[in-house]
């Protein structure tokens, strides 16, 4: 088993007429360690698609069992939203996945898509929207510099 499973980098790929996109090869290399498919769902907080290994959702399920009441309304809502929306997307021999209409619409993706690494997961954006979002984040982060231990991001 691999030590690290970090989705990284930002990659722009085309979406063809059939709705197919190449999963960046770095991502594929990670996924292949344990599966031949990724799980995608509409982001709850942004106009983009979110993707991860099934393991992560499994961890989320466990965390929720531990932290929330079994009959909690919040847990009900969240699990409905995420697990109701999530779906496995296998990739073919050339490494492409076929995103559903629902996902593409939510992210406003038509003929090209940007994959953005997020560590244990990644996001898929409409290129223009991602450009704006990145600027927003950069200005946000510089305004209220959040402090983090480890500091790998700081110079």
């Amino acid at each position: 088993m691999r030590k690290t499973f970090l989705f990284m980098d930002t990659v722009l790929n085309k979406v063809d007429a059939k709705g197919r996109v190449s999963l960046p090869s770095d991502y594929r290399a990670i996924v292949k360690e344990s599966a031949s498919e990724i799980v995608c769902y509409r982001s709850l907080t942004a106009p983009c698609i979110e993707g991860c290994l099934e393991d992560l959702l499994d961890k989320l399920a466990t965390d929720m069992e531990d932290s929330l009441d079994f009959f909690s309304q919040t847990q009900d809502d969240l699990t409905n939203l995420i697990f109701g929306d999530a779906k496995r997307y296998p990739f073919d021999s050339t490494g492409r996945i076929m995103l559903s209409e629902k996902l593409l619409k939510h992210a406003g993706i038509t003929d090209s898509a940007v994959f953005v690494g997020k560590g244990r997961k990644f996001q898929i954006w409409n290129p223009q929207n991602w450009e704006k979002e990145e600027q927003r984040i950069r200005s946000e982060v510089f305004k209220n510099r959040p402090s983090l231990k480890g500091g790998a991001h700081e110079s």
Copy 2:
């Protein structure tokens, strides 16, 4: 297993037409202990490239998962910024990495680059820029002597 993993020294290397640079052999020796690739990203605070072992970012990912909520906006922003920018750079049999256009542009590097050790990380600078930066740092540190416990660094 090796006792120390510190990136040290300052090394000037050429960047060829393909964007390839030799990783200083001392650095390679450190990396080879656990991997055959380094992770690089644009420094958030200076016009240079930063590099480290993937372990460091993995630790950061774990720290964030532990300290911040799964649905936290801050966590979202930070992971996008950090992991969206970072990327693995494997080195070939002769010890070279191929820096992306994005990184070279951010650091203003064209035909040569300076590797500067930073302990667990290192930086890659445009030679002229580094010269200025080093002077700035030296005068800065001399002006307001920072205090550090331990004192092993003082003479």
